[in-house]
């Protein structure tokens, strides 16, 4: 079999892979290769056309494609080698510095890549209908949120007009909004847990903005329709998540969107029976790593959603960079690493901690999730007598905890939840006075998500009640006086065989009440490649001084 050589091979060209490649180059590695199974680099970012990316890393509010484009531009500038439509099939690790990766591509057929180090960034996959055991007919129109998103924002087709969404995580909320923006009727979002899982920001901007009802402690228990989905039966559930008889209700729809969670995509090693022998953490579903993000196979690193399912791309990017720095070090200094790894122990109330092992020779950022929501708690590390207060913790929100070299040097550490006795002041009950006008506004500035009542005098704010801190005031005031949003959507591309739709956005926030009309008017807009990211698509739209611009580059 043909063979090529590289120093560092990156498997998967999503956010983690792109960040790893750029960082490796910046660390001085000049023989870096990315293999990506799909036609294009970008991974999940390609189809996430909404804003909310890069708030931490770039301190800007970008769309997924814009975030991706920044890395693609660097990859091109650095001249990093990329092979797309190249799928990694198996890894045969012969020694620390010899990893034979078999890949296939229509251009080059099946061949081997001999890499001195490998970073795995193959992302995650969604949970499907059968893992949820939803009984009923098996018609067309039952799909995961990611599949629907790909059909809409990569292929340019709508998979339905009457939509039911299962799962209130960010992905479910974001897809509910996406369908609404394109004129579909979203009947409701059904969440089996007694609380919504997505960020407050998304609960408010995806559901409230579009009048989409959220049903808690509810789920879909049956799918009806022989050919295409015709309706679903929804039901309330009890504490053990069993449907409560008598609460069933039929909801007519032609598409059922499943947004019920992600799992690291360890299929790749499963593809061929021999696998590659990665040790998996049952808590994350991804590989067990040390603080270099190195797996149990020396010089095979892992990052991004393949390592653990992340909430934000910023964390994914950082993980890619950490893995790249580790790989660069390993390749520069060939002396065998002999570390006495210490373990991060999962304690009471915690589902997982990543990295699972640490050396104690450097500061480490630990990622963890709790098992259930709680208020006023400490994350406690008893061995070093450390406590970190949290006003609110919820399983959908990742907790990051940086411990110093000094704290880590002592030995194994346990991470656990401990209730706090010193309660923060709860919000005072809000008194509504007769004859005054109020607006109900959810603060989305932090995960607490205070429900506030804003007393208005004309279109001026007189008083804000119910906020437990001052950080949210500016946002709440703006929401009360004149709520604004970034406009984003896709526009069909007329002349490209590879890119069907172009993601676009407004370069400034737009008054919320202008948006519906704007989406309707944009429906007839068409563009022609070539297009550069940032190109002006429509000037002064939907109002003076705001422009619609392209979020990514499309070559002709």
């Amino acid at each position: 079999m043909n063979q090529i050589n590289t120093h560092l091979l990156i498997v998967g060209g999503g956010a983690a892979g792109l960040a790893a490649a750029c960082k490796a180059y910046e660390e001085g590695l000049d023989n870096v290769l990315i293999v990506e199974g799909s036609k294009e680099l970008g991974g999940i970012l390609l189809q996430c056309i909404h804003t909310g990316f890069g708030l931490e890393y770039f301190k800007e509010n970008l769309t997924g494609p814009e975030y991706m484009q920044r890395f693609l531009d660097k990859i091109r500038k650095y001249g990093i080698q990329v092979m797309t439509q190249t799928m990694a099939l198996k890894i045969d690790s012969r020694s620390r510095y010899e990893h034979i990766v078999t890949v296939s591509s229509p251009e080059k057929g099946f061949f081997n890549i001999d890499a001195k180090a490998v970073i795995m960034t193959t992302g995650c996959r969604e949970r499907g209908r059968d893992e949820l055991n939803i009984p009923g007919d098996r018609p067309a129109g039952v799909m995961t949120a990611g599949t629907a998103q790909r059909y809409m924002d990569v292929y340019g087709y709508l998979p339905g007009k009457e939509v039911v969404v299962v799962g209130s995580g960010d992905i479910g909320l974001i897809m509910a909004r996406r369908f609404s923006q394109e004129g579909a009727n979203v009947k409701g979002v059904y969440e089996i847990l007694p609380y919504a899982c997505g960020l407050r920001r998304n609960q408010s901007q995806c559901l409230k903005d579009f009048g989409i009802p959220l049903h808690l402690s509810s789920t879909v228990i049956q799918i009806n329709g022989k050919k295409r989905v015709e309706s679903v039966i929804v039901s309330k559930v009890d504490e053990a998540f069993n449907p409560i008889p008598g609460t069933e209700e039929e909801v007519k729809c032609d598409v059922l969107i499943l947004a019920t969670g992600l799992l690291p995509d360890t299929r790749f090693p499963k593809l061929l029976p021999e696998g590659i022998g990665l040790k998996i953490d049952p808590g994350t579903g991804g590989p067990i790593v040390n603080d270099l993000f190195e797996t149990n196979i020396p010089n095979i690193f892992a990052a991004g959603n393949f390592l653990l399912v992340n909430d934000t791309v910023d964390d994914v990017t950082i993980q890619g960079e950490v893995a790249a720095i580790s790989a660069a070090k390993a390749l520069a200094d060939k002396s065998p690493v002999d570390v006495d790894w210490k373990h991060a122990i999962v304690g009471e109330g915690i589902r997982f901690v990543v990295p699972q092992m640490f050396s104690g020779n450097k500061d480490v950022c630990f990622y963890m999730r709790v098992t259930r929501p709680a208020e006023n708690v400490f994350i406690e590390v008893p061995e070093v007598d450390k406590r970190f207060f949290n006003r609110i913790v919820r399983p959908p929100e990742m907790i990051k905890l940086v411990l110093s070299e000094e704290q880590l040097s002592s030995g194994n550490l346990t991470f656990k939840i401990k209730p706090s006795t010193s309660f923060l002041k709860a919000a005072e009950p809000i008194q509504i006075r007769e004859g005054r006008t109020y607006k109900e506004i959810t603060c989305i500035v932090c995960p607490v998500g205070c429900q506030t009542m804003v007393e208005m005098v004309g279109d001026q704010v007189r008083e804000i009640k119910g906020a437990t801190c001052t950080r949210g005031i500016e946002f709440i005031r703006q929401e009360a006086v004149c709520p604004v949003r970034i406009l984003f959507t896709v526009v069909p591309v007329e002349n490209s065989s590879s890119v069907k739709v172009l993601p676009v956005r407004s370069d400034k926030p737009v008054e919320k009440n202008l948006l519906n009309e704007a989406y309707r008017r944009l429906a007839t807009c068409r563009v022609k490649a070539p297009i550069q990211a940032g190109d002006l698509i429509v000037r002064d739209f939907p109002c003076q001084g705001v422009n619609i611009v392209a979020c990514r580059t499309v070559l002709s």
Binding site: S105, E126, R129, D130, D137, L522
Partner: protein, 499 residues
């Protein structure tokens, strides 16, 4: 010698086998008429896939089943080779957990010997548990080494491909709506696509066999039993191979009632099937293949109570599905011709073990035709073989290289779970796949761990390109099962203000 026209109604496993058997003869013009868009869309696509040994069918009560099943088993051993099918000749056990059940096993053993089932063995105690170490409460087992599993949809598709290469013409998306007997012999088959003349009509219409029989004026069997087919549903769990099967053989419980009970079946791809249960449908709906919470729970609970907690957790399930048995009034196959309607032959009421018996049913149909005067001459050159679609990823290195250099699409992997290439998908379309399901049945694309959520959009693109249809016309499995609704901007023009 003049050419005789034959119409076979229904492209399930029975119709497929009949068409293939007929294709061995000279001077026949054979049409295989099927109402669905693809072959194997009826009962044949959703069953356990077992090639039974044949000890189960009581020759006194079910003489036709008993006569055909074990012979069918022997024919399959040969056919899987000829047709290049996936098969797992794992053997089966009927497990007993107490003394009473051992008595039943003895009866089954005797019956098996009457039915000419080879190599049956009754194993007691340790000997039985050695076969299935995880079944701790096994007291005895009737071991049938000739039993195995196939992928029934793959089999029907392969048989039709082979029949086609021997001159059979499949006519899909064509529903038989009436059968007229012509004066002076012969039939006029009225279909949704127009009329077909026929000298011979073989009814292999599965669940609709009674309705087709009625069209020909046959309401009762030669023994006077009313011809009525009732749907009886069976539901399943499939667990993927990555969790490892807890059993190595097909494991039946000792039978109690009408069915063989709820079983465990390792399929040819290494997945584990648990099921089916047996639900008499009160409705006359012959398409009600919905799974139910009650039915699925019954299956899971039954296995767990019978054999202990050996199933993977429910949320590791790769797929739930249900199949409908075509249950005749008296429980036996109806394979017969009629003096009052020469040339019309029923092959219906083919409930379990119909998959196993199908090749033998086909031979029986030829016998019945011979009794009515068919004097066909066997072709000198008849091709028993069919090349399977190559599974690129699993080919030896040299062979793979040749394939890829001839068509580079064989190195473009589309389905990542099962490792299926674009080349295989395009070849499946060339061979007749029209739907996403049709591609899955021929290549396994989309049947793996993620059930198509990563590759379905790519398959839609390929189907659209190869069939020359817009993506929103691509079907999941049947007419009306479009995956997409319209272009992304087609609705927003008529946007409603949110309330």
């Amino acid at each position: 010698m003049s050419v005789e026209e034959v119409v076979v109604i229904g492209a399930g496993i029975v119709g497929a086998c009949v068409a293939r058997e007929l294709s061995k003869y000279e001077n026949l013009n054979i049409k295989l008429i099927e109402k669905e868009i693809d072959v194997s869309c009826g009962t044949t696509k959703a069953n356990t896939g077992i090639i039974h040994a044949g000890y189960d069918d009581d020759p006194m009560q079910y003489p036709v089943r008993a006569a055909l099943c074990s012979k069918g088993n022997a024919l399959w051993h040969n056919m899987v080779e000829e047709l290049g099918l996936h098969v797992n000749w794992c053997g089966s056990i009927v497990g007993a957990t107490n003394e009473d059940e051992i008595t039943v096993l003895e009866t089954l053993l005797k019956r098996g010997i009457t039915n000419n089932v080879p190599n049956l063995k009754l194993l007691i105690g340790e000997e039985a548990r050695r076969l299935e170490p995880k079944l701790k409460n096994l007291k005895a087992a009737l071991y049938a080494p000739t039993e195995g599993t196939i992928l029934p949809f793959e089999a029907a598709i392969a048989i039709v491909e082979n029949a086609k290469s021997n001159g059979v013409l499949p006519v899909l998306e064509t529903e038989v709506v009436n059968i007229e007997q012509k004066n002076g012999g012969g039939f006029l088959i009225k279909t949704s696509l127009g009329d077909f003349k026929a000298d011979w009509v073989i009814n292999a219409a599965g669940l609709y066999g009674d309705e087709v029989s009625k069209m020909a004026g046959i309401l009762r069997t030669n023994n006077g039993v009313s011809i009525e087919i009732h749907p009886r549903r069976g539901e399943y769990w499939i667990f993927p191979s990555e969790y490892g099967s807890p059993v190595r053989h097909i494991v039946f419980p000792t039978p109690t009632g009408a069915t063989k009970g709820i079983l465990l079946t390792p399929d040819p791809e290494g997945s584990l099937l648990a099921g089916p249960n047996s639900e008499e449908l009160s409705s006359i709906d012959k398409e009600d293949k919905a799974t139910t919470r009650i039915g699925l729970n019954e299956v899971y609970k039954y296995i767990t109570e019978k054999w202990g907690p050996i199933l993977p957790p429910k949320n590791k399930c790769i797929k739930n599905f249900a199949g409908l048995r075509a249950e005749p009034q008296h429980g036996d196959f109806i394979v017969e011709g009629y003096e009052r309607c020469t040339g019309f032959i029923n092959a219906i009421g083919i409930r379990s073990p119909g998959l196993t018996s199908a090749p033998m049913i086909a031979k029986e149909v030829l016998n019945l035709m011979a009794k009515q005067g068919f004097r066909g001459k066997v072709k000198e050159k008849w091709n028993p073989h069919r090349e399977p679609i190559p599974r690129t990823l699993f080919l030896p290195y040299e062979q793979r290289g040749r394939l890829v250099s001839a068509d580079s699409r064989y190195a473009h992997l589309v389905c990542w779970c099962e490792g299926v290439s674009e080349g295989e998908i395009v070849e499946a379309i060339k061979r007749g796949a029209r739907t996403i399901q049709g591609i899955g049945f021929r290549t396994r694309a989309g049947l793996g761990r993620c059930q198509g959520m990563s590759c379905q959009s790519k398959i839609v693109e390929i189907l659209s390109r190869e069939l020359g249809i817009p993506p929103e016309k691509v079907l999941l499995k049947s007419k009306g099962s479009e995956v997409l609704t319209c272009g992304i901007k087609d609705l927003v023009g008529v946007f409603n203000e949110p309330n």
